[in-house]
């Protein structure tokens, strides 16, 4: 039973990790929590769904289309919702309001275009479960786990091994100084939004496959936020760690105390982190600008 719970916790954690990292990239650079990320995931989930419906795309092609759509949406969001705020050097609360409003806008647009009906992705997998003795592993969960891990590794390589990644890190450290050092800050910020949208696309498709499509799908972003807080806001490694920890804790709490009470414990854990170790597990130095 315990091994099965761990497997279930890992598969839930993989979803949270993708959400949390998309979230963390933007926080890393601009120091605000991008709640529009939920909207990105919803839109891309529908984009991927439309691709499967009209072009009968394979899983990889669907992921690619949804991710590109997410990346473009990220660029558009940066232009429409955030660029002026940054140019005016407005307080962080403006980013916050703008991102929440954008998230709501995207959710409502989806409701208008697709109504509140549910849709589901076609079945991509010939076999849905693998049995190892008494353990049951869902094939969609397994593939989601592998692709998420792969995406996160590629992201890490981009950030730590490429010139662009170095620029990204230096911008995240100090926006103005890196501009003075000859880094094109706008391009780097656009890159961050593109990457966040791209990851949002992958998580959107997987959320759609696991949980069917509906306009409020993006509200799962709250779990990504909690994971980021536990892991350390702005730290990518922290986001991943926090996400897997959250998935695991949730599954065990449901087993131990039941689903109704488990949010109380999650809340207490989050409070403890905020009180005792506000920098999260990763202990990143970043603090929200106030």
């Amino acid at each position: 039973m315990t091994a099965q719970l761990i497997i279930n916790g890992l598969s839930l954690g993989a979803v949270y990790a993708l959400i949390a990292v998309g979230f963390a990239i933007i926080f890393n650079i601009l120091k605000f929590s991008n709640f529009a990320h939920g909207g990105f995931m919803t839109v891309t989930a529908y984009a991927g769904f439309l691709a499967t419906r009209f072009w009968h795309t394979s899983l990889l092609a669907t992921l690619l289309i949804a991710s590109l759509a997410g990346g473009l949406l990220g660029l558009l969001a940066e232009l429409v919702a955030f660029r002026r705020i940054r140019n005016n050097k407005s307080p962080v609360i403006y980013y916050f309001v703008s991102s929440i409003t954008l998230g709501m806008l995207l959710e409502n647009l989806m409701t208008i275009f697709f109504s509140t009906n549910f849709y589901s992705y076609p079945n991509f997998f010939p076999v849905n479960t693998i049995k190892l003795g008494r353990l049951i592993i869902g094939v969609p969960d397994l593939i989601m786990f592998c692709i998420s891990t792969l995406a996160l590794i590629i992201l890490a390589i981009i950030i730590y091994r490429t010139k662009l990644g170095t620029a990204l890190r230096s911008v995240s450290y100090d926006l103005d100084t890196s501009g003075l050092m000859g880094i094109n800050v706008l391009r780097i910020i656009q890159l961050a939004f593109f990457l966040a949208g791209f990851l949002g696309g992958i998580s959107g498709v997987f959320l759609g496959i696991s949980y069917t499509l509906y306009p409020q799908l993006g509200q799962m972003v709250v779990k990504g936020f909690i994971a980021s807080v536990i892991g350390g806001l702005g730290s990518l490694e922290g986001a991943v760690t926090g996400a897997f920890l959250l998935g695991m804790v949730e599954i065990f709490l449901i087993r131990l105390v039941g689903s109704g009470i488990s949010p109380v414990f999650i809340f207490i854990i989050m409070l403890l982190f905020l009180l005792v170790r506000p920098r999260g597990i990763a202990g990143s130095h970043i603090q929200e600008k106030a």
Binding site: N117, K131, I136, S210, P263
Partner: protein
């Protein structure tokens, strides 16, 4: 410059107030005319409170379309006592306060003879005491019994239900599971944060326990949960021979898919939300699912109404469309028997509805509970993605009622 802007704004505001005042006074003028409560001129107004723009709008639109279809047909045949019916619909946005405002508008300004209520229980419950004062009847499909009877068991004066209540439906499913599927050990998985889910789970559990079978595991989750594997594993471990899952459609899809993924291949029984498009959404996992439905797709009357619906709206009718259709039949019948569209007399006639042939069955309303009695439901099984009608079923107790 600033002054100019301010004064322009002030003028606009003032004009707005005048305009509002005028629109408010116009129904007053109508009232002073010879229009009588329940009708305006040669029309009889039937109110319709449905969610058209929020989370349950899929149902609201289906009920509205079904009701409009029935009205068009009645009007084509000459209306009732020479008067045409007219449906006046207001959007509740699935919000209790919006629904109360809309109800009051229908009763006082539009002079509705009777009102079709939404298929949402919390709105039905909120409207019950208000309707008792305002005295325009609501015929709803809110299945929570509190929407039709008070705590002391007496009916709310002006609320009526057109389909079997949650208790009746849960008993029908429980009876069918034990009698026809021969199952003795049953697990239950429901959403403890959703009144609809709870209102089916509790009477199901009571009925099973009091009729000699066993609830081996009772598992719950809350609305934001998406992963029920832990709960399902508990049920699996108890060796349940069937699982009762009375949830909203999307949660049904997740629960059934996850159960099948885990190798739980026992029959799954549930509520009306297993109706289309469930099978399409759940895919292969949907096999061996049973639920009670209001209608049998093979029934000639259903086929005929469904064809007319498709011709009118270019889409397949959902279950709720037939509820809307039947609501109009019941109200029209009551107006005919009352001989007048006066809301209080229509209410008295609604209470005496007997053996009315609707698309969802033979409808009789009990004056004691304001709910239908002896109304069987059609048990449906999903086989290879297809909905297969098994039989009409009703428990022995309900038959004798």
């Amino acid at each position: 410059m600033k002054k100019i802007v301010v004064s322009v704004l002030a003028i606009i505001l003032a004009l707005g107030l005048v305009a509002c005042g005028q629109s408010n006074s116009s129904p007053g003028k109508g009232q002073s005319g010879n229009s009588q409560q329940g009708s305006t001129g040669d029309q009889i107004i039937i109110g319709n409170l449905q969610d058209l723009s929020s989370t349950t709008s899929v149902w609201g639109k289906a009920v509205t379309n079904g009701a409009q279809l029935a009205i068009d047909r009645i009007n084509k045949d000459g209306g009732i006592n020479g008067k045409k019916l007219k449906l006046v619909t207001y959007d509740t946005k699935n919000d209790v306060q919006e629904a109360i405002n809309a109800y009051n508008r229908l009763a006082s300004q539009d002079k509705a003879a009777a009102i079709i209520g939404p298929p949402v229980s919390n709105i039905g419950i909120a409207l019950a005491p208000i309707a008792e004062n305002t005295k325009v009847a609501i015929l709803g499909s809110f299945i929570d019994e509190r929407a039709t009877t008070k705590n002391d068991g007496k009916p709310w004066g002006y609320n009526f239900l057109i389909q079997p209540s949650s208790v009746q439906q849960a008993q029908i499913v429980a009876g069918y599971t034990m009698d026809k599927l021969n199952v003795k050990k049953i697990g239950v998985l429901y959403n403890q944060a959703n009144a609809y889910s709870v209102s089916l789970a509790k009477p199901f559990i009571d009925y099973v326990k009091s009729h000699g079978s066993q609830i081996v595991s009772e598992q719950t989750y809350k609305t934001s949960d998406k992963d029920y594997k832990t709960q399902l594993a508990e049920i699996q471990a108890t060796g349940a021979e069937a699982i009762f899952i009375p949830n909203y459609i999307q949660e049904d899809v997740l629960a059934v898919q996850q159960a099948r993924q885990m190798g739980i291949n026992v029959p799954i029984v549930g509520g009306l939300d297993f109706a289309p498009p469930f099978a399409e959404l759940a895919g292969d996992a949907a096999n061996d699912v049973y639920f009670p439905n209001n209608i049998a797709a093979e029934d000639p009357q259903i086929k005929e109404v469904a064809a007319a619906y498709k011709a009118a709206y270019n889409e397949e009718p959902l279950n709720k469309a037939f509820i809307g259709y039947d609501s109009i039949l019941v109200i029209a019948d009551a107006i005919k028997r009352a001989g007048t569209p006066d809301p209080v007399k229509v209410r008295d006639a609604l209470e005496q509805t007997k053996d009315l042939k609707g698309t969802t069955g033979i409808i009789s309303i009990s004056p004691k509970t304001h709910r239908p009695y002896g109304l069987s439901m059609v048990m449906i099984k999903i086989e290879k993605g297809q909905y297969v009608t098994k039989e009409r079923y009703i428990t022995k107790e309900q038959q004798q009622q």
